[in-house]
């Protein structure tokens, strides 16, 4: 059965309203302060370390994102850890709050489809996260210029912009997940707890669990064990399982893009490296090809989670 009228009717109004709500909320202020503060620490330590080696490294700017100074992880690593938190903070009550404030039926009785409301909330969330990421990106580039005293090369700027886009899709996964939970659960507290639980699961538990599971599914071969080597089948299985986590996908994609010398994200045999000049940089195109499955994985997860939320939302009763 066809419905008349555009599903995009009112989309702009919803996006603007949500965006202005988010921008003026204390919640986003706190989250952004948190992210900026932590990013600043990571950056400060990275610059301290890089200042000595500036002259030797052709990709010194990208190092700003990737170098880690224990105990502080790298800037990119920190983003992988914090982006979910910010996205969850933005999305965990986006639909349930409309229910609880009893504004949903009033808003939906205006000439818009539900599609516009959901899409508008998602796009506004993405815009907020995008602005935040762009701000951080400028912070890194600016700090690099000032403190390292070298301008970034064109390739470095391109790579860092690709990194920005990957980070945005990583945001998308978590935002879509948080919104799905806000649709499924009427209580904001439940939705927040489940979202944070999933976040901790993927950040802390899944890396450990996936290697344990891999041991069970593809047990190590005795011949390799005797030689003190990892079994290829086990390693592969472990990687397959680990990649179910968006954090892993993000980390791998970032590695390929920001470390131009990365040639593979999985285990490779020595003979596969024959003829390769190990340690030299790949062109951006080649790095993109390496990270492409991970990038597609992030985009696909965003879409799947959003569609799931969309379907549930369409079938939901509006009455409180």
């Amino acid at each position: 059965m066809r419905r008349e009228g555009s599903v995009f009717q009112g989309l702009g109004a919803v996006v603007l309203k949500e965006l202005s709500d988010q921008m003026s909320s204390i919640r986003i202020f706190v989250l952004e302060f948190l992210v900026a503060a932590i990013a600043f620490v990571a950056l400060y330590r990275a610059i301290g370390r890089l200042a000595d080696t500036t002259a030797e490294d052709p990709f010194v700017f990208l190092r700003l994102f990737t170098v880690d100074t224990p105990p502080v992880p790298s800037f990119a690593g920190l983003l992988g850890f914090l982006i979910p938190l910010v996205a969850i903070g933005l999305g965990f009550d986006s639909v349930s709050s409309e229910h609880n404030r009893r504004t949903l039926s009033r808003v939906l009785s205006q000439p818009i489809y539900r599609d516009a409301l959901l899409m508008g909330k998602f796009l506004a969330g993405m815009a907020t996260l995008g602005i935040m990421l762009l701000g951080l990106w400028l912070l890194v580039i600016g700090a690099g210029l000032l403190l390292l005293g070298v301008p970034p090369s064109g390739d470095e700027v391109m790579r860092s912009l690709v990194f920005l886009i990957i980070a945005l899709f990583y945001c998308g996964v978590w935002l879509a997940l948080a919104m799905l939970l806000s649709i499924v659960f009427r209580s904001a507290a439940t939705s927040a707890l489940v979202a944070l639980g999933l976040w901790l699961f993927f950040v802390l538990i899944w890396p450990i669990l996936s290697s344990a599971l891999a041991m069970v599914i593809a047990p190590p071969d005795v011949r390799y064990v005797l030689l003190g080597l990892p079994t290829p089948a086990t390693v592969e299985m472990q990687q397959v399982l680990a990649r179910f986590s968006p954090n892993q996908l993000f980390a791998e994609a970032v590695l390929a893009i920001l470390s131009p010398s990365t040639r593979s994200l999985g285990p490779i045999f020595l003979e596969q490296l024959q003829g390769a000049v190990v340690g030299t940089a790949l062109p951006l195109r080649q790095s993109l090809l390496i990270a492409w499955p991970q990038i597609v994985g992030l985009i696909a997860s965003t879409i799947v989670l959003f569609v799931a939320g969309y379907v549930v939302f369409q079938r939901q009763e509006v009455r409180a």
């Binding site: 009228g5 009033r106 009455r319």
Partner: protein, 320 residues
């Protein structure tokens, strides 16, 4: 025959096993106030949601201003205003900002927006609190703001779901006055309520809901005739000279079905206003007439009587 703006035929809503609205038929003429009446859970809100395309219709059809809410929900929602049961607003926004969001969703031009919002707010006496956040509003003010939204939309139909429940008596009177003013401007009003005396005060016609069916429909007088067997109760206070049997004289008046006597007060139940005849009868008996009044039976009496009758098995179907 006046033009029907809403007409429902065999409208049915079923959730898995339970039937919430069971094949109802009704028509609402342009410019009238139509009351949906019945206990909570009788299917009033579901009927309203189906009319606005906010919930799926299981069977039957409904037309609002000639549009099908299933296929043309935007056209319906642009022309019909909906004030949900315990309406919610964005607490942190001001009254004017809340309306501005609706105006944007309606697609009004910016200049038009400001003018319409100011007009609508002053119409419901909220002009001086337009810049105050809605969280400071009382319940009555929120309901009025909801009505302002409908006014601002320029809706041809106002659908009000339990608009006066939880309001104090003065707020209720004010609100009902606003509804009547809407009617004078040619807006058709559909009012759902379980508060009988209010419905009686403003509604031209009512439909009585019970467990998903409309069991009675018509003007209050028609319902009274059908349920109580009479539309009017005339009270006569008269002192008759000894010997004159006023009771018999009243009973002889055509149209009077029963006479009750309590001292010098007589209650005449009649199908029409029999005051002139009653006065004549008293004078003819040489009695002294001290008071004469007519009472249309209250909806409450009709309602109570109807459900009492329904409780008896033989009366179950004939009333519907």
């Amino acid at each position: 025959m006046t033009e029907n703006v809403i007409s429902a035929r065999g409208l049915t809503k079923r959730y898995r096993r339970t039937t919430v609205v069971d094949g109802i038929d009704f028509d609402v003429a342009k410019g009238e106030i139509f009351g949906l009446l019945g206990p909570n859970g009788a299917g009033k809100t579901t009927t309203i949601l189906m009319m606005l395309g906010l919930t799926d219709i299981t069977a039957g059809e409904v037309r609002v201003l000639g549009y099908d809410p299933v296929r043309q929900p935007l056209a319906v929602k642009r022309r019909a205003g909906y004030l949900p049961d315990s309406v919610g607003f964005y607490d942190y926004l001001t009254a004017a900002e809340n309306l501005a969001y609706t105006a944007r969703l309606m697609g009004f031009a910016p200049a038009e927006r400001t003018r319409k919002i100011a007009e609508a707010l002053s119409r419901v006496q909220l002009g001086d609190v337009a810049k105050k956040p809605v969280r400071t509003f009382s319940r009555g003010m929120r309901q009025r703001l909801g009505l302002a939204e409908i006014v601002m939309k320029g809706a041809e139909i106002a659908i009000l779901d339990e608009p006066t429940s939880g309001l104090d008596p003065q707020a209720t009177v004010d609100f009902l006055a606003l509804i009547e003013r809407l009617k004078h401007e040619g807006v058709t009003v559909l009012l759902s309520s379980h508060l009988l005396d209010q419905v009686q005060r403003v509604c031209d016609r009512v439909a009585l809901f019970q467990t998903g069916r409309i069991v009675l429909q018509g003007t209050v007088a028609e319902l009274a005739k059908e349920v109580l067997g009479a539309g009017f109760v005339v009270e006569v206070d008269a002192v008759a000279p000894s010997g004159a049997d006023l009771e018999a004289r009243f009973l002889a008046i055509p149209g009077v079905s029963a006479v009750q006597r309590a001292g010098d007060r007589y209650r005449l139940t009649a199908v029409r206003d029999v005051r002139p005849d009653a006065a004549r009868a008293v004078v003819a008996a040489d009695g002294a007439l001290t008071q004469l009044s007519v009472d249309t039976p209250s909806l409450e009496a009709i309602y109570t009587r109807f459900f009492q009758r329904k409780a008896r098995p033989e009366g179950v179907r004939d009333a519907a």
